[in-house]
């Protein structure tokens, strides 16, 4: 089913948002991916991915409060929708299923 298939980066982004719970906004998401994924992603790429996910309906966002660091500008908090959760589940199932079929000796 086209549209709910998640890209690798999209999956990571969604999972990171879930991990961050109420504190998922641009800067924190990037930092979390940097730390957990041990990789440096570009802000542009992340923002593109987030807005595409939002377009697909896997994410919603709302404006939050601003603070001094941000020059008084509000944060945009992201939240995973039910559709997003389903998509994640499906992705995980596919992977688990495939993992379970990989012969054990291949993994050593």
């Amino acid at each position: 089913m086209k549209g709910t298939n998640l890209g690798e980066f999209e999956e990571i982004a969604l999972l990171t948002i879930l991990v961050l719970k109420d504190d998922a906004y641009g800067v924190s998401i990037k930092r979390e991916i940097n730390e957990q994924g041990k990789r440096n992603i570009s802000r542009g790429a992340l923002h593109t991915a987030l807005s595409r996910l939002e377009e697909k309906g896997l994410l919603t966002s709302k404006q939050g409060e601003g603070n001094e660091d941000r020059g008084g500008r509000p944060k945009r908090y992201y939240e995973v929708t039910n559709k997003g959760l389903t998509a994640l589940q499906e992705a995980k199932e596919v992977r688990d299923q495939l993992w379970s079929q990989v012969p054990a000796f291949r993994l050593q």
Binding site: G26, G66, P74, K75
Partner: protein
């Protein structure tokens, strides 16, 4: 907020982000970036953080972040445009004088601009009809003798064609052409002179002239084949089908028509009436050892053109490299000369450099740039007028701007309004400019026969588009500064007191513009008068022989004996002589001369025994030629003094009797002629010799002594027609020959003079506007001064002084600049030239001063004479 200002991300990046980013996402995106920046500043340092910030901003420049086209915004500006238009038209109508000055000035200068656009677009449209023309190039030779400056030629050697075939890859097809094909076509009773080119069968592969009849591949392959243009075919054969017909061309050569090509269009850089198959030329000339050697010589490069069509993806530089290497190798055979070659693109021929032996006319890139430069100057002058007057008037518009701003106009909207006004003026000016353009076009084309032959300045629809765009551009540029200035006005200031000094902050800029305007005007006038002096100087120059009452008549392949006999019976003809060419009007003949293992190029003319007497040359030693039978071999030569010096031949008397080798013949020096100017005056005097060969005369020279010139001319024409009824008499007085040889000075003088008149009128208009304005705004001041006892004279000098100073500064700039320009650049290479006198330099300045005083004076006097009671009463 204190630490915020301490760590500022780069301002331009921030602005850029705000400019492109959609407002919905701008806020949080910028917030994220700020926060990120803040962290980076702490962890990585300020410099690094700023760098990252910039990169991030650029990185976010993606389709989904860019602002959408805002229809609403455009709608309001469209509505506002109606308002701008209305106010602009009202303001134009209200200030009739200023509008008139602007419209007239712009119209006059834009008409020149239109002329330039038509001119340039036509020049660049040349040869565009050839298919794949962007791959077609001509092989141009560069001829260099010893250490002298290399001379570029449009011609190359015949052998070049074979060399390209053998050693240069990447050439798809090529054509070799040679000048000099043609003669009188005889069919039944008809005799029609035709001229054209010898061409190989590659002609139709390289060029795409329209073929009406015949096989394009083979029409030029057989000997004695001829291809005619439809026009020529009609002249010879009338309405009968010309294909496969035969006729006699020249003396007795029989040619068969193998193809009909449509007459070359106007925008082809070369033209022809007929093409002869090249094999015919080869058969005629490649005879015997001498013919063979000549045909294959690398330096036989004066008549032949090679055009190549490169295969797609061939690198031109690569071909040029190979040509250069080839030329260097081939030139090793020659002691003193190096002949190399390079490619010239077909599309650049018309606007290309001025080459010797060109196949047709070319305008020359330099001329285009010079004309474009002049045009720009005239346009600038009119643009300055607009800027100056608008800024001066801004005083009156300031209130309007203030009110607009109070009501809510942004800076940009005010700017738009004034730009609109300038554009409207320039579009109105365009209408007038077009009328003027139509008027001056025929005059421009009529400047010189060569211009008329190569240009039409046809008006095409696309040209109208160019004209319109041009008008818009002029409007935008002219209106830019005033619009900037007015839109920057501070609302409060503009409303508080329009007359405040702040508004006059641009006064210096206005002065600078006026100075530039007048400097240019003066420079133009001075240049025109220098060109005119130069022309007069060339005409009156003592060439070293006499040209008065000498009539030169082209022989046009007639037997000179018959012609001579015919003219001899006319009593007004005092003397008759014959020569190969007419010296001193720009063309020269060259031949190799050797003496004692030394060799040089000898300029020469072939003459008969009467020529030296007739032209009144001074023989300083030795004798004249004597009459010989027409079969006798060439054996004698008369050299000039310079040649004796060049070869150390001793004094004139010592030189007599010595043998020199000229054109592989041993000739005895029988006389020495006083140095004279055999070339145009911009060239110096080098080695020159008179040769005496009976079979190479192309001109008859008549010395006339007539009290009734028209009657004599009629007699000469009758005598000519009796001998040769086919060709028209081609006769020109020597003085006229010289005059047309220097016509370039006249053309330059005319163009520059005309532009001078334009710039001066435009500048004077501008000055008038400024004077009117000054008089108007200072009316009260003048009245008060008058009431307090100032005399009219003192008032006039008060008001005039400022302007006069500007004129003096302009003169101080213009005179030395023009002088240096001519002295160092334009006239520098010219061997004989008139010195630039005080008169030429100062006439222009005086004219400008006179015009300036008149314009300002008229206004100022009016103001000074006005009754102070009238002006002060209204207070």
């Amino acid at each position: 907020m204190s630490n915020k200002s301490a760590h500022q991300p780069p301002r331009w990046a921030d602005r850029f982000l705000e400019w492109y980013c959609r407002s919905e996402i701008l806020e949080d995106l910028q917030g994220d970036l700020y926060e990120h920046f803040e962290r980076n500043t702490i962890s990585k340092g300020k410099r690094k953080a700023r760098q990252i910030y910039c990169l991030d901003v650029l990185n976010f420049f993606r389709p989904y972040t860019i602002k959408k086209f805002k229809i609403v915004n455009n709608l309001t500006s469209f509505i506002m445009f109606k308002n701008y238009f209305k106010t602009s038209v009202r303001s134009i109508a209200r200030n009739k004088l200023f509008s008139a000055i602007n419209v007239i000035g712009l119209a006059v200068s834009m008409s020149i601009g239109l002329l330039m656009i038509a001119f340039i677009s036509e020049v660049f449209s040349f040869d565009k009809f050839h298919k794949d023309g962007d791959r077609v190039y001509r092989v141009n030779n560069i001829y260099q003798e010893q250490q002298e400056d290399p001379t570029p030629f449009a011609t190359t050697s015949i052998i070049m064609s074979d060399r390209i075939k053998e050693s240069i890859p990447g050439v798809e097809s090529q054509v070799l052409m040679t000048r000099g094909f043609g003669g009188d076509a005889k069919l039944d009773e008809k005799i029609i002179p035709i001229s054209g080119l010898w061409a190989t069968e590659g002609f139709n592969d390289v060029f795409s002239f329209e073929i009406l009849q015949g096989n394009p591949e083979t029409m030029l392959s057989e000997p004695n084949s001829i291809v005619l243009t439809d026009e020529t075919a009609k002249k010879i054969f009338g309405d009968t089908d010309p294909m496969n017909q035969t006729f006699i061309l020249g003396k007795e050569d029989l040619y068969t028509v193998t193809g009909i090509i449509k007459k070359p269009p106007f925008n082809s850089h070369f033209t022809f009436q007929a093409l002869g198959s090249y094999i015919t030329y080869t058969n005629q000339n490649r005879k015997g050892e001498r013919g063979e050697n000549w045909y294959n010589a690398w330096n036989n490069m004066w008549m032949n053109y090679v055009y190549v069509k490169l295969a797609p993806n061939t690198d031109v530089n690569d071909v040029n490299q190979r040509l250069l290497a080839l030329g260097e190798k081939e030139s090793e055979k020659y002691e003193h000369i190096t002949i190399t070659s390079e490619l010239q693109p077909l599309y650049g021929m018309m606007a290309g450099p001025d080459l010797s032996n060109n196949i047709g006319v070319s305008i020359g890139g330099a001329v285009i740039w010079v004309l474009a430069g002049f045009t720009l100057v005239v346009l600038l002058s009119a643009g300055f007028n607009y800027t100056n007057l608008s800024i001066a008037r801004s005083l009156k518009r300031a209130k309007e701007v203030g009110v607009r701003k109070v009501v809510g106009a942004t800076k940009r909207q005010v700017f738009n309004q004034f730009i609109t006004e300038a554009t409207i003026i320039s579009v109105i000016a365009l209408v007038f400019a077009y009328l003027i353009f139509m008027f001056i076009k025929p005059h421009f084309l009529g400047l010189d026969p060569s211009i008329e032959r190569s240009l039409q300045l046809e008006i095409t629809p696309i040209l109208f588009l160019y004209f319109f765009i041009f008008a818009l551009a002029v409007g935008l540029l002219a209106g830019f500064v005033p619009a900037m200035f007015l839109s920057k006005l501070k609302t409060v200031q503009a409303l508080k007191n329009a007359g405040s000094t702040k508004l006059f902050s641009k006064v210096n800029m206005r002065k600078v513009l006026i100075v530039i305007q007048f400097t240019l005007s003066m420079a133009f006038i001075i240049s025109a008068s220098i060109a005119y002096t130069q022309f007069k100087y060339a005409l009156n120059f003592d060439l070293g022989f006499k040209t008065e009452n000498v009539l030169n008549i082209e022989l046009q392949n007639n037997d000179w004996q018959k012609i001579e006999t015919a003219f001899a019976s006319i009593p007004e003809v005092q003397m008759i002589s014959k020569s190969a060419m007419i010296p001193s009007v720009g063309s020269t003949y060259l031949v190799d001369m050797k003496y004692n293992n030394d060799s040089t190029e000898l300029f020469y003319n072939t003459i008969d025994e009467n020529y030296i007497d007739l032209m009144d040359h001074e023989i300083i030693a030795g004798a004249h030629f004597t009459k010989k039978s027409s079969e006798s071999e060439e054996s004698e030569v008369i050299l000039n003094e310079e040649t004796l010096k060049r070869f150390n031949l001793g004094t004139p008397n010592e030189a007599i009797g010595k043998q020199v080798e000229i054109d592989e013949n041993n000739l005895t020096i029988i006389g020495v002629v006083r140095d004279f100017h055999y070339d145009k005056l911009d060239q110096g005097i080098k080695s020159f010799g008179f040769r005496n060969r009976s079979n190479s005369f192309y001109y008859v020279n008549l010395k006339l002594n007539s009290s009734d010139l028209p009657a004599t001319m009629a007699k000469i024409e009758n005598a000519w027609n009796e001998v040769d009824p086919v060709h028209k008499l081609q006769a020109q007085f020597y003085d006229e020959n010289i005059e047309s040889a220097y016509s370039e000075y006249v053309i330059m003088g005319t163009i520059v003079g005309f532009l001078a008149v334009l710039t001066v009128s435009i500048a004077a208009l501008g000055l008038l506007g400024m004077a009117v304005y000054t008089a108007e705004t200072r009316m009260k001041e003048i009245s008060i001064r008058k009431v307090l006892g100032a005399t009219e004279g003192s008032l006039v000098s008060l008001l005039t002084r400022g302007f006069m100073w500007l004129l003096v500064i302009s003169a101080a700039l213009a005179i030395p600049l023009t002088y240096l320009l001519f002295e160092q650049q334009i006239l520098n290479d010219i061997e004989n030239r008139a010195t630039i006198g005080v008169l030429e330099l100062f006439t222009g300045v005086l004219i400008i001063f006179a015009i300036g005083i008149l314009t300002i004076g008229s206004q100022v006097r009016r103001a000074a004479k006005a009754n102070p009671a009238q002006t002060l009463r209204s207070e």
